[in-house]
């Protein structure tokens, strides 16, 4: 039993880590937190299930790719139209505006796709396999596989390609990057698009584990943010570790202490971290640059 609790906690944690990574990337390049990230996840899950799987009848993996492309375009557009303008504003304005946009996105999902919860069984249904005496659903294994592949690809791209170098340059010093001829606006839009894709992957992976409702992403988005704070604001390894710790801790505490309060655990953990270790587990060196 405990093994299953750990496995499902880690699977959930991997999803938090994806969302947290999105926050970290956007924070590093644009210095804004996108409080609508959870709603991006919801919207992606709806597009994926309702449009690409149910309406167009595409197979799981093809539908997933289409949903990611759609969310990337939405993210890039949002970044250019709204987010870029928010950069000049006070932090509080940016926070409220992204909360407002989140409400818009959530309501749009309801208006377009209706209020009924959608079910998608995914490629595996509820099949489980036995790994070392623990029965794990295939969907959970898929989550681990996808998240690991995303992390490795992301590391390789950031480290060894020109795109990665350009992104890191923009993150470190936008003005200089611009003076050196880097198309900064395109890079920012690209970063935001990537963060949206991370949310989208989260939504696609979550869809077969829960019913898809307009509330699907709200808490996941908030907990992803909590995960980033626990790991270290804006830190990339911190986001991954924070996500895994949060998912695991949440499941263990729900299992051993109190299941009804499962959703409160993340926020209690947040309070503890803010009071005891406000910079998180892996503090970002340049966190104070603002």
């Amino acid at each position: 039993m405990l093994g299953q609790v750990v496995a499902s906690g880690l699977a959930m944690g991997a999803i938090y880590a994806l969302v947290a990574l999105g926050y970290a990337f956007v924070w590093r390049t644009m210095n804004i937190v996108n409080f609508a990230a959870g709603e991006f996840l919801t919207f992606a899950a709806f597009i994926f299930v309702a449009t690409f799987v149910n309406r167009l009848g595409l197979p799981f993996y093809l539908a997933a790719i289409f949903a990611c492309v759609a969310m990337a375009s939405l993210g890039a557009a949002f970044s250019r139209i709204v987010f870029a303008r928010l950069q000049k504003e006070r932090t509080i304005v940016a926070i409220i505006a992204t909360v407002g946009f989140g409400l818009f996105l959530k309501e749009m999902a309801r208006i377009i796709y209706g209020p009924q919860p959608l079910l998608n069984t995914g490629p595996f249904g509820f099949e489980t396999i036995n790994v070392g005496g623990i029965s794990v659903t295939k969907q959970q294994l898929l989550v681990f596989a996808v998240v690991i592949v995303v992390m490795v690809l992301q590391y390789l791209v950031l480290r060894y390609t020109m795109i990665g170098k350009v992104m890191r340059a923009v993150a470190q010093d936008r003005e200089t990057a611009q003076l050196m001829g880097i198309p900064v606006n395109a890079v920012l839009a690209g970063t935001f698009a990537y963060a949206s894709v991370l949310s989208a992957i989260g939504g696609i992976l979550l869809a077969p584990m829960f019913f898809v409702t307009t509330e699907l992403g709200t808490l996941v988005g908030l907990k992803g943010f909590v995960a980033m704070i626990i790991g270290g604001f804006g830190s990339i390894p911190g986001a991954i570790i924070g996500g895994l710790i949060l998912g695991l801790g949440e499941n263990l505490a729900a299992f051993s202490i109190s299941a009804p309060y499962k959703d409160a655990i993340a926020f209690v953990l947040l309070l503890v971290f803010l009071l005891v270790r406000p910079k998180g587990l892996i503090p970002e060196a340049s966190a104070d640059r603002a």
Partner: protein, 632 residues
Amino acid sequence: MKISMRNRKIILAAILVAFLLPPFLGVNGYALQVLDMAFIYAIAALGVTIATGITGMVVLGQAAFMGLGAYTSGLIMTGTSLPWWLALPIAIVVTGLIGAGLGLISTRIKEHYLAITTLGLNEIFRLIVLNESWLTGGPFGLRDIPTLQIPVMGGGLAQQHYIPLFVLTVLVYALALRIYKTSFGRQMRAIRDDDLAAESMGVNSRAVRVMAFALCSIFGALAGGVFVLTFGFISPNNFLVFESIKMLLMVVVGGLGSIGGTFLGALVVVGLPEVLREFQTYYLAIFGITVVIILLTVPRGLGIIADWLLAPWLPGEEGNALAQAKAEDMSNAATIEEEDERATAVAVRLRSEREQAVVNAPKATGDVLLKVENVSKSFGGIRALKDVRFDIRRGEILGLIGPNGSGKSTMINACSGIVRVTAGKILLDGKVISHLPAWDVHAAGVSRIFQNVRVWNSMTVLENVMVCHAATRDTHVITGAIGTAKARADEDMAREDALKALDLMGIRHLANRRASDLSFGQSRLVELARSIVNKPKLLLLDEPGAGLRGGLIMELAEILKQLRNQGMTILVVEHRVKLVVSMCDRIVVLNLGDKIAEGSAQSVARDPVVVDAYLGGKVERKRRLKAIETTT
């Protein structure tokens, strides 16, 4: 629009009276109920305006405070059968205390952290109410709470409560408007506009934030308690995060920070969906995107209307209207020239005054006012200051110079309490000040201006200066709001001294202008007036001449000399050698965090180590000379 303040009062009174009419015109109970709801939300949203709009702390959990007030008063009435007029105040006090406690946490948590924390607390509140059904009734809520019957008003509950609720709302808004104008209101706005400047100019940001948070929760609790009395039934669904976001919508639609706008925002957010029922499916999506559009295009929202109506009760609205009229009929270039002329005139006047009074000018006495003892400061691996020591003598102007990155600003920040020193200490009049928070350092008599002008943009020039006055430093919310004799006397004194300080800078005519409308040079003078209104013992100036034109530089130099003659001690960081040499009695030179020279302007200028630091030189030579300097 040229409608006088008196006429605006009349228009406002007419609107208020119109609001009283519906119950007498036979408006149906449902419509009245919607309006009742709007009034209740208007009270709760006003709390959000105070914390978020005026003080600048994002609160995404106001529904939890509202729920706390509602459940506490509901439980008291059902559990102990105490009457409502006891239950409601108890609920407000309990919630206010919890709010103040959260406010204490909020002083350590800012911006994004505060947003997510308040949101999380709202969620925790929901889970507790949902799961502790032995106390709260769980998902079914609290039923059959005795509602308040006011048969005099006739009709159903909605009609009975309409007028009392409206009167209560008006009273609460009047109270908020009053607080807005007091010293506490100024401090809240100063923190929102620039908290670092507020702290170093004497605003105890911790106390103000805690109070603002407490006020926010009190307004929430009041709204929650009244909700119970009006509807007699509450469930967890009334106080979701979603409701918190809705209140944030009201605040934004009303223009972030506008008190009157919040009321209009509540009317719109609660009322519009009822009026346009066919749009019910779409209105939340529309509101969501409206928030983004308002924030990016018309940030003042409905506050444009409300603030115009309430102008007689808002600080500086009159001056602002005047300024707009003035700006329209004058080209920009003319005002710059005019300003330069005015500055030169002030400079000439000050110089002649000084030359006449030169006989009784106090000389630098030589006893030590500020002692910097072996101060070091590291930022991560970078050591900005290394074991620096020097004294500032009473009555002198000490120049602090050095190449870029030499640690000058860090030194000033350390002296004003913004930056904690890593080692060593700083003493003012023999008392250690380097461990005090910035506002206590200011209270001890150290005042400063910033390298990049940091005025509080949304406030008037006069308010900018009044914030820093000692008489109104302590946060007296209650006496200020009541307007006791002492509070009024303090306020008058602060205003008078502030006007005097503006007079000295020659900018008294700008007193009622909004700081954001000023030119750079004018802002600099406001900052200077702000820093001397408290008659500090020590004035820290971080590049006061940066970005100023000729006339203003002259004025600045004359003002500083005048201040010195009045007995003020000044530490000035400045790049313009001419200004430094003409002004300073002694000079301390920093380079890469080390003090490399100290002495009179002439001796420092000839010091080869200083020349090396500025122009570069051979490494061996530098080392040798340094050795000589330490032995002499």
